[in-house]
């Protein structure tokens, strides 16, 4: 981290609670770099998080106004914050269990409204804080503590879901693609409308133990071998990309966002009422 980044963290709380090899630190570092590069001031930011390991990335370590909420509801809380504080940068960082699992419906509807929130969903493939149970993003066939014989469900493709639901920006990167991840975060932080990055991250302790990847290096090598840029993926057959991690920007479009629409409505009414 650059020295300027130190003012963006609550140093007094370090060291972090993250397990050895966790991708959470990488995501925090990338986020701080992205914030520094965009020039957004911490006084203008609100961090909203849920429950789980990934929610600890911003809360308490990132130093800004912070609302650490209930499990799965970060986006719903953030919606209320954003409507009252449309000029602030409201950012959700939370995990796959939180955002895609219990809070999946809020994700879809926030993307549909295209509300000007930034959501970084850290996908470590499992419920880490509770000990490594299967999540909606766990790959088919994986062993977890609640799929001891193998996962018989298909994983959710969250970035595609968000793109289809109407968001302005949706992308997927991994903790291996760190440069692209930082650039993607900068793009997401400055994009008007709902912006979303699914960040594939490693959990050597909670997930790796059950799938034979016990170190961060094992995961990063796996990400390197499994990632396929979106342009290449578009030319591949569905069964060829079934187990791959498609990376890149899935959607980047200009579409009027929700709080602007809400303010327009109020302005229109004020005019009609002659106020």
């Amino acid at each position: 981290m650059r020295p300027e980044g130190l003012k963006l963290i609550r140093k007094e709380i370090f060291p972090t609670i993250f397990c050895s090899g966790c991708g959470g630190g990488t995501v925090l570092n990338a986020f701080i770099e992205a914030v520094l590069n965009t020039g957004i001031k911490q006084e203008e930011m609100v961090m909203v998080t849920g429950i789980g390991c990934s929610s600890w990335i911003p809360s308490p370590y990132f130093k800004a106004d912070t609302l650490h909420t209930t499990h799965g509801r970060a986006i719903a809380f953030a919606t209320g914050v954003k409507v009252m504080k449309p000029d602030m940068k409201v950012v959700v960082i939370a995990g796959d269990g939180d955002v895609a699992g219990i809070g999946g419906n809020h994700l879809i509807h926030a993307a549909r409204r295209n509300i000007n929130l930034t959501v970084f969903m850290v996908n470590n493939y499992i419920y880490g804080m509770t000990g490594g149970q299967v999540s909606p993003t766990t790959p088919f066939g994986s062993r977890t503590t609640t799929t001891p014989y193998s996962n018989v469900e298909y994983p959710m493709k969250a970035a595609e879901l968000v793109a289809a639901a109407g968001a302005s920006f949706s992308a997927r990167w991994t903790t291996y693609n760190i440069v692209q991840l930082i650039k993607g975060m900068q793009k997401a932080l400055t994009k008007k409308g709902f912006s979303f990055i699914e960040i594939i991250s490693q959990c050597p302790v909670g997930f790796g133990k059950n799938v034979g990847m016990r170190t961060a290096i094992d995961f990063l090598k796996y990400f390197k071998s499994q990632t396929v840029p979106i342009k290449k993926a578009q030319k591949m057959k569905p069964d060829e990309i079934e187990d791959k991690i498609v990376i890149g920007t899935l959607v980047d479009r200009d579409r009027r966002e929700f709080t602007d629409n809400l303010l327009d409505l109020n302005e229109r009414r004020m005019k009609e009422l002659g106020l």
């Binding site: 308490p60 914050v81 509807h109």
Partner: protein, 366 residues
Amino acid sequence: MQGDESVAYGALFAGCNFFAGYPITPASETAETMSLELPNTGGYYIQMEDEIASMSAIIGAAWGGGKTMTATSGPGFSLMQEAIGYGCMTETPCVIVDVQRSGPSTGQATKPAQGDLLQARWGTHGDHEIIALAPNSVTETFELVIEAFNLSEEYRTPVIFLMDGEIGHVREKITFPDPEDVKTFPRKKAKKGDTLFGGENVPPMSHFGEGFLIHVTGSTHKGNGMRDVVSQSVHEELILRQNGKISDNREKITMVEKIYDDDAEYSFVTIGVSSRPTLNALRMAKEMGIPMNFLRLKTVWPFPIKEVEELGKRSKKIFVPEMNLGQLSREIQRFTSCDVINIPKIGGVSHGSKEIFDIVRKHIGL
């Protein structure tokens, strides 16, 4: 106008500028009225994807500086419980309207009931105190929801507004006051260096974007808002203070309507719409030469212990007509030693006056 509309206008007079909700019978008219009026007053209406999201959004909006409200009925109120606990733990002022309908589950969706009394008190998990108010007319709905907002600000806590489907849908004449005559309680704002989550009983609050870089969490936290989820003393101090700020002010928060007769040996205690046939029954009793006392709890929680204890001392029997199977009666029994006779009515219709009076007569042997 309807009670559901009147609660919306009361909220607007109280300064409500953010409403998030989800349609549900018999509370939808409140959302409709808010969606109609908020854009005219510079406020914001948002229909969320469910009641969990609605409750979450009004808490988020409160930290963004809003005076916020949601409205629902039993099934939605059940869904909101976790976030209501978050509101208690983070000491977030907001108002939750529950227009009670007949349950459990979908029950009689269009019919009134008073079955959420104890859910309002104990619905969310863990040790907490709650403030809940119950009106019995369209005009009182308007007046009392303003009190609900004021109490939520004064004690920095969620306040439950317990209507019932009957009061929500009944149409009555109402005269709005001059907005300047409406007393509102201003939010106590923090200055730099203030403790936002401890210290005094009701700490001052700051909003996002005011430079405090505050940390708000539903986890056990210290006065500075930072988590400490392992120290017994931190949790105990936090929870005792949060509970104390309401229970220590029980009598200040208590609002009741009393019609007492010095010669009476028998009494009624009621809430909400049940008070209306009960008042008729009171008149019938008087005409028959049986003087009775009448106590209506506008404040349901914190429970008006002193009022109920006093009434218990002057009564041989207390009759409790309520539209559930005895939730209020059970609470009254805890604070009285006289006979407490539950007069339940479920199935979506309110008591008849004669029905109440006949039960009273039977019990006093007339």
